[in-house]
Amino acid sequence: MKPTEDAIGILAGLRTSEALAPSARFKKNARIRFLNRIEPVKGVAHTKSMAVAVAFRFALLGILAVVLIGESLVYVAGFSAPGGILYPVKVATQKNIPSPEPTVAGSTGISPEESSPSATPTFHPTPVTVLGDTVPVIEAPAEFPANIPLLPKLPFP
Protein backbone atom coordinates (compact mmCIF):
# COMPACT_ATOMS: atom_id res chain seq x y z
CA MET A 1 0.00 0.00 0.00
CA LYS A 2 1.38 3.36 -0.94
CA PRO A 3 1.29 6.38 1.30
CA THR A 4 -1.57 8.81 0.89
CA GLU A 5 0.76 11.50 -0.41
CA ASP A 6 1.83 9.22 -3.21
CA ALA A 7 -1.75 8.52 -4.17
CA ILE A 8 -2.57 12.20 -4.20
CA GLY A 9 0.57 12.91 -6.21
CA ILE A 10 -0.37 10.31 -8.78
CA LEU A 11 -3.88 11.69 -9.01
CA ALA A 12 -2.50 15.19 -9.50
CA GLY A 13 -0.21 13.82 -12.19
CA LEU A 14 -3.21 12.50 -14.06
CA ARG A 15 -4.31 16.06 -14.59
CA THR A 16 -1.32 16.90 -16.74
CA SER A 17 -1.02 13.49 -18.30
CA GLU A 18 -1.48 13.30 -22.05
CA ALA A 19 -3.33 10.08 -21.45
CA LEU A 20 -6.31 12.07 -20.24
CA ALA A 21 -6.11 14.82 -22.81
CA PRO A 22 -8.48 14.90 -25.77
CA SER A 23 -6.91 14.63 -29.18
CA ALA A 24 -6.25 17.87 -31.04
CA ARG A 25 -8.41 16.62 -33.89
CA PHE A 26 -11.37 16.02 -31.61
CA LYS A 27 -10.97 19.39 -29.95
CA LYS A 28 -10.89 21.16 -33.29
CA ASN A 29 -13.78 19.31 -34.89
CA ALA A 30 -15.97 19.38 -31.79
CA ARG A 31 -15.36 23.11 -31.50
CA ILE A 32 -16.53 23.68 -35.06
CA ARG A 33 -19.62 21.55 -34.50
CA PHE A 34 -20.32 23.35 -31.25
CA LEU A 35 -20.08 26.81 -32.76
CA ASN A 36 -22.16 25.77 -35.76
CA ARG A 37 -25.00 24.94 -33.41
CA ILE A 38 -25.21 28.48 -32.13
CA GLU A 39 -28.35 30.23 -33.21
CA PRO A 40 -29.25 33.78 -32.35
CA VAL A 41 -31.70 33.85 -29.52
CA LYS A 42 -34.49 36.23 -30.43
CA GLY A 43 -35.44 37.03 -26.89
CA VAL A 44 -31.91 37.93 -25.92
CA ALA A 45 -30.39 39.37 -29.07
CA HIS A 46 -33.06 42.02 -29.45
CA THR A 47 -33.34 42.96 -25.83
CA LYS A 48 -32.48 46.61 -26.44
CA SER A 49 -34.99 47.20 -29.23
CA MET A 50 -37.64 45.29 -27.31
CA ALA A 51 -37.04 47.44 -24.27
CA VAL A 52 -37.47 50.57 -26.36
CA ALA A 53 -40.70 49.25 -27.87
CA VAL A 54 -42.09 48.38 -24.45
CA ALA A 55 -41.12 51.78 -23.08
CA PHE A 56 -42.82 53.47 -26.03
CA ARG A 57 -46.02 51.52 -25.42
CA PHE A 58 -46.01 52.42 -21.75
CA ALA A 59 -45.44 56.07 -22.65
CA LEU A 60 -48.43 56.02 -25.01
CA LEU A 61 -50.60 54.38 -22.39
CA GLY A 62 -49.47 56.97 -19.85
CA ILE A 63 -50.36 59.87 -22.13
CA LEU A 64 -53.76 58.32 -22.89
CA ALA A 65 -54.43 57.83 -19.19
CA VAL A 66 -53.50 61.45 -18.38
CA VAL A 67 -55.77 62.77 -21.12
CA LEU A 68 -58.71 60.61 -20.04
CA ILE A 69 -58.32 61.47 -16.37
CA GLY A 70 -57.98 65.19 -17.17
CA GLU A 71 -61.07 65.21 -19.35
CA SER A 72 -63.06 63.33 -16.73
CA LEU A 73 -61.91 65.74 -14.04
CA VAL A 74 -62.92 68.78 -16.07
CA TYR A 75 -66.29 67.20 -16.87
CA VAL A 76 -67.02 66.39 -13.22
CA ALA A 77 -65.76 69.79 -12.13
CA GLY A 78 -68.41 71.36 -14.34
CA PHE A 79 -71.04 70.22 -11.81
CA SER A 80 -69.19 71.39 -8.74
CA ALA A 81 -70.46 74.21 -6.56
CA PRO A 82 -68.39 76.95 -4.93
CA GLY A 83 -66.49 75.51 -2.01
CA GLY A 84 -66.26 72.10 -3.62
CA ILE A 85 -63.00 70.34 -4.14
CA LEU A 86 -63.22 70.59 -7.89
CA TYR A 87 -64.58 74.12 -8.01
CA PRO A 88 -61.12 75.64 -8.62
CA VAL A 89 -60.84 73.33 -11.59
CA LYS A 90 -64.16 74.54 -12.86
CA VAL A 91 -63.12 78.19 -12.47
CA ALA A 92 -59.78 77.56 -14.10
CA THR A 93 -61.23 75.74 -17.05
CA GLN A 94 -64.08 78.20 -17.55
CA LYS A 95 -61.64 81.08 -17.58
CA ASN A 96 -60.05 79.50 -20.51
CA ILE A 97 -63.27 79.44 -22.52
CA PRO A 98 -63.24 82.49 -24.83
CA SER A 99 -66.40 84.46 -24.31
CA PRO A 100 -67.76 86.84 -27.06
CA GLU A 101 -67.59 90.56 -26.49
CA PRO A 102 -70.84 91.75 -24.92
CA THR A 103 -72.37 93.73 -27.81
CA VAL A 104 -75.49 95.75 -27.24
CA ALA A 105 -76.99 95.34 -30.65
CA GLY A 106 -75.25 92.22 -31.73
CA SER A 107 -76.66 90.66 -34.84
CA THR A 108 -80.23 90.49 -33.66
CA GLY A 109 -81.20 93.89 -35.03
CA ILE A 110 -82.39 95.14 -31.67
CA SER A 111 -81.64 98.74 -31.05
CA PRO A 112 -79.58 99.72 -28.08
CA GLU A 113 -82.60 101.37 -26.50
CA GLU A 114 -84.61 98.16 -26.76
CA SER A 115 -81.79 96.08 -25.45
CA SER A 116 -81.45 98.15 -22.35
CA PRO A 117 -83.10 96.69 -19.24
CA SER A 118 -85.31 99.71 -18.71
CA ALA A 119 -86.92 99.54 -22.17
CA THR A 120 -90.26 97.77 -22.51
CA PRO A 121 -90.42 95.36 -25.37
CA THR A 122 -93.00 96.30 -27.97
CA PHE A 123 -94.77 94.13 -30.51
CA HIS A 124 -95.66 95.45 -33.92
CA PRO A 125 -98.06 93.04 -35.61
CA THR A 126 -97.78 93.13 -39.36
CA PRO A 127 -100.71 92.04 -41.54
CA VAL A 128 -99.96 88.97 -43.59
CA THR A 129 -101.27 88.51 -47.16
CA VAL A 130 -102.39 84.97 -47.96
CA LEU A 131 -103.62 84.21 -51.50
CA GLY A 132 -104.40 87.86 -52.09
CA ASP A 133 -106.41 88.35 -48.87
CA THR A 134 -105.05 90.23 -46.00
CA VAL A 135 -105.27 88.11 -42.85
CA PRO A 136 -105.17 89.93 -39.60
CA VAL A 137 -102.70 88.70 -37.12
CA ILE A 138 -104.30 87.58 -33.93
CA GLU A 139 -102.44 88.90 -31.03
CA ALA A 140 -101.52 86.39 -28.41
CA PRO A 141 -103.12 86.85 -25.05
CA ALA A 142 -101.07 88.69 -22.56
CA GLU A 143 -101.21 85.79 -20.14
CA PHE A 144 -101.75 82.15 -20.84
CA PRO A 145 -105.08 80.95 -19.29
CA ALA A 146 -104.43 79.00 -16.19
CA ASN A 147 -107.43 76.69 -16.50
CA ILE A 148 -106.77 75.46 -20.02
CA PRO A 149 -106.78 71.67 -20.08
CA LEU A 150 -103.53 70.16 -21.15
CA LEU A 151 -105.23 67.17 -22.78
CA PRO A 152 -108.54 67.08 -24.66
CA LYS A 153 -111.41 65.26 -23.03
CA LEU A 154 -111.76 61.77 -24.29
CA PRO A 155 -115.15 60.23 -25.18
CA PHE A 156 -114.75 57.41 -22.69
CA PRO A 157 -114.14 57.48 -19.01
Binding site: I10, L14, A19, R31, F34, A45
Partner: protein, 179 residues
Protein backbone atom coordinates in the same frame (compact mmCIF):
# COMPACT_ATOMS: atom_id res chain seq x y z
CA UNK B 1 -0.55 24.25 -9.37
CA UNK B 2 -4.17 25.20 -9.37
CA UNK B 3 -5.95 24.85 -12.64
CA UNK B 4 -9.14 26.59 -11.70
CA UNK B 5 -10.79 28.25 -14.61
CA UNK B 6 -12.16 31.44 -13.23
CA UNK B 7 -14.76 32.75 -15.56
CA UNK B 8 -15.99 36.30 -15.32
CA UNK B 9 -19.61 37.37 -15.33
CA UNK B 10 -19.21 39.39 -18.49
CA UNK B 11 -18.14 36.32 -20.44
CA UNK B 12 -21.10 34.37 -19.10
CA UNK B 13 -23.56 37.13 -19.94
CA UNK B 14 -22.17 37.33 -23.48
CA UNK B 15 -22.44 33.57 -23.78
CA UNK B 16 -26.02 33.77 -22.58
CA UNK B 17 -26.70 36.08 -25.53
CA UNK B 18 -25.32 33.29 -27.73
CA UNK B 19 -22.23 35.29 -28.57
CA UNK B 20 -20.02 33.07 -30.70
CA UNK B 21 -16.74 34.45 -29.41
CA UNK B 22 -17.78 34.06 -25.77
CA UNK B 23 -19.05 30.52 -26.29
CA UNK B 24 -15.90 29.62 -28.15
CA UNK B 25 -13.86 30.96 -25.26
CA UNK B 26 -15.85 28.88 -22.79
CA UNK B 27 -15.30 25.83 -24.96
CA UNK B 28 -11.55 26.44 -25.04
CA UNK B 29 -11.43 26.95 -21.29
CA UNK B 30 -13.30 23.83 -20.33
CA UNK B 31 -13.07 21.22 -23.06
CA UNK B 32 -9.98 19.51 -21.68
CA UNK B 33 -11.25 19.44 -18.11
CA UNK B 34 -14.62 18.10 -19.15
CA UNK B 35 -13.09 15.48 -21.38
CA UNK B 36 -10.72 14.39 -18.62
CA UNK B 37 -13.51 14.14 -16.08
CA UNK B 38 -15.63 12.11 -18.47
CA UNK B 39 -12.80 9.89 -19.64
CA UNK B 40 -11.79 8.91 -16.12
CA UNK B 41 -15.36 7.82 -15.55
CA UNK B 42 -16.26 6.09 -18.80
CA UNK B 43 -12.87 4.66 -19.71
CA UNK B 44 -13.29 4.79 -23.46
CA UNK B 45 -11.99 7.60 -25.60
CA UNK B 46 -14.85 7.50 -28.12
CA UNK B 47 -17.46 7.57 -25.40
CA UNK B 48 -15.66 10.36 -23.61
CA UNK B 49 -15.69 12.38 -26.82
CA UNK B 50 -19.41 11.77 -27.34
CA UNK B 51 -20.30 12.74 -23.80
CA UNK B 52 -18.05 15.81 -23.97
CA UNK B 53 -19.83 16.99 -27.09
CA UNK B 54 -23.18 16.37 -25.47
CA UNK B 55 -22.08 18.53 -22.55
CA UNK B 56 -21.48 21.49 -24.82
CA UNK B 57 -24.74 20.94 -26.66
CA UNK B 58 -26.50 21.03 -23.33
CA UNK B 59 -24.57 24.12 -22.29
CA UNK B 60 -25.69 25.83 -25.48
CA UNK B 61 -29.26 24.85 -24.84
CA UNK B 62 -29.42 25.81 -21.18
CA UNK B 63 -27.02 28.69 -20.75
CA UNK B 64 -29.82 31.17 -21.45
CA UNK B 65 -31.55 30.09 -18.27
CA UNK B 66 -28.38 30.04 -16.14
CA UNK B 67 -28.54 32.42 -13.21
CA UNK B 68 -25.60 32.64 -10.86
CA UNK B 69 -27.52 32.99 -7.59
CA UNK B 70 -24.75 31.45 -5.53
CA UNK B 71 -23.94 28.72 -8.04
CA UNK B 72 -20.74 29.55 -9.93
CA UNK B 73 -20.68 28.83 -13.63
CA UNK B 74 -18.02 26.17 -13.16
CA UNK B 75 -20.16 24.28 -10.65
CA UNK B 76 -23.17 24.60 -12.95
CA UNK B 77 -21.11 23.19 -15.80
CA UNK B 78 -19.83 20.24 -13.80
CA UNK B 79 -23.36 19.44 -12.73
CA UNK B 80 -24.21 19.05 -16.40
CA UNK B 81 -21.16 16.86 -16.92
CA UNK B 82 -22.04 14.72 -13.93
CA UNK B 83 -25.64 14.31 -15.06
CA UNK B 84 -24.58 13.29 -18.54
CA UNK B 85 -22.12 10.74 -17.20
CA UNK B 86 -24.95 9.32 -15.11
CA UNK B 87 -27.14 9.23 -18.21
CA UNK B 88 -24.33 7.46 -20.04
CA UNK B 89 -24.30 4.69 -17.47
CA UNK B 90 -28.06 4.44 -17.47
CA UNK B 91 -28.21 4.14 -21.24
CA UNK B 92 -25.37 1.74 -21.50
CA UNK B 93 -24.44 -1.05 -19.23
CA UNK B 94 -21.13 -0.39 -17.61
CA UNK B 95 -18.47 -2.57 -19.13
CA UNK B 96 -15.06 -3.31 -17.82
CA UNK B 97 -12.30 -2.04 -20.07
CA UNK B 98 -9.37 -4.44 -19.97
CA UNK B 99 -6.10 -2.87 -18.96
CA UNK B 100 -4.31 -3.72 -22.20
CA UNK B 101 -7.14 -2.14 -24.21
CA UNK B 102 -7.06 0.94 -22.07
CA UNK B 103 -3.34 1.28 -22.56
CA UNK B 104 -3.74 0.89 -26.28
CA UNK B 105 -6.45 3.52 -26.42
CA UNK B 106 -4.71 6.14 -24.40
CA UNK B 107 -1.21 5.57 -25.60
CA UNK B 108 -1.24 5.06 -29.35
CA UNK B 109 2.14 6.67 -29.97
CA UNK B 110 5.43 5.05 -28.98
CA UNK B 111 7.02 6.66 -25.93
CA UNK B 112 10.36 6.42 -24.23
CA UNK B 113 10.56 3.61 -21.75
CA UNK B 114 10.40 5.78 -18.69
CA UNK B 115 7.39 7.62 -20.02
CA UNK B 116 5.66 4.34 -20.68
CA UNK B 117 6.33 3.35 -17.12
CA UNK B 118 4.64 6.48 -15.86
CA UNK B 119 1.75 5.94 -18.24
CA UNK B 120 1.26 2.45 -16.96
CA UNK B 121 1.21 3.76 -13.46
CA UNK B 122 -1.45 6.29 -14.43
CA UNK B 123 -3.50 3.67 -16.18
CA UNK B 124 -3.29 1.43 -13.19
CA UNK B 125 -4.55 4.26 -11.02
CA UNK B 126 -7.36 4.97 -13.43
CA UNK B 127 -8.40 1.36 -13.37
CA UNK B 128 -8.47 1.39 -9.60
CA UNK B 129 -10.46 4.62 -9.55
CA UNK B 130 -13.05 3.06 -11.83
CA UNK B 131 -13.45 0.19 -9.39
CA UNK B 132 -14.53 2.59 -6.68
CA UNK B 133 -18.19 3.29 -5.98
CA UNK B 134 -19.55 6.13 -8.10
CA UNK B 135 -19.73 8.62 -5.25
CA UNK B 136 -16.06 8.01 -4.45
CA UNK B 137 -15.04 8.36 -8.07
CA UNK B 138 -16.68 11.74 -8.27
CA UNK B 139 -14.99 12.95 -5.13
CA UNK B 140 -11.57 11.67 -6.19
CA UNK B 141 -11.88 13.34 -9.56
CA UNK B 142 -13.27 16.64 -8.43
CA UNK B 143 -10.97 17.03 -5.46
CA UNK B 144 -7.68 15.47 -6.46
CA UNK B 145 -7.65 15.68 -10.24
CA UNK B 146 -9.66 18.82 -10.93
CA UNK B 147 -8.60 20.39 -7.64
CA UNK B 148 -11.93 21.98 -6.91
CA UNK B 149 -12.57 23.34 -3.46
CA UNK B 150 -14.84 21.60 -0.99
CA UNK B 151 -17.39 24.39 -1.41
CA UNK B 152 -17.43 23.92 -5.17
CA UNK B 153 -17.72 20.15 -4.85
CA UNK B 154 -20.51 20.67 -2.35
CA UNK B 155 -22.37 22.78 -4.88
CA UNK B 156 -21.83 20.31 -7.71
CA UNK B 157 -22.85 17.25 -5.73
CA UNK B 158 -25.51 19.11 -3.74
CA UNK B 159 -24.17 17.78 -0.47
CA UNK B 160 -23.00 19.54 2.71
CA UNK B 161 -19.32 20.41 2.95
CA UNK B 162 -18.88 18.21 6.03
CA UNK B 163 -20.19 15.25 4.10
CA UNK B 164 -17.81 16.06 1.26
CA UNK B 165 -14.86 15.92 3.66
CA UNK B 166 -15.95 12.56 5.00
CA UNK B 167 -16.44 11.21 1.51
CA UNK B 168 -12.97 12.42 0.50
CA UNK B 169 -11.20 10.65 3.30
CA UNK B 170 -13.17 7.47 2.74
CA UNK B 171 -12.61 7.53 -1.00
CA UNK B 172 -8.90 8.08 -0.59
CA UNK B 173 -8.63 5.33 1.99
CA UNK B 174 -10.49 2.97 -0.29
CA UNK B 175 -8.29 3.87 -3.23
CA UNK B 176 -5.16 3.29 -1.18
CA UNK B 177 -6.24 -0.27 -0.52
CA UNK B 178 -6.32 -0.86 -4.27
CA UNK B 179 -2.95 0.71 -5.02
Amino acid sequence: MKIHTRIDKELVSQAKAQDTVALGRIYDLFVERIYRFVYVRVGRREDAEDVTEQVFVKVLKNIGSYEERGLPFEAWLFRIVRNLVTDYYRGRRRTFVPLDEAIHVVDPKPKPEEAVSVKLQYEEVLQQIRKLPERYQEIIELKFIEELTNDEISQILKKPVDQIRVLQSRALAKLKTYL
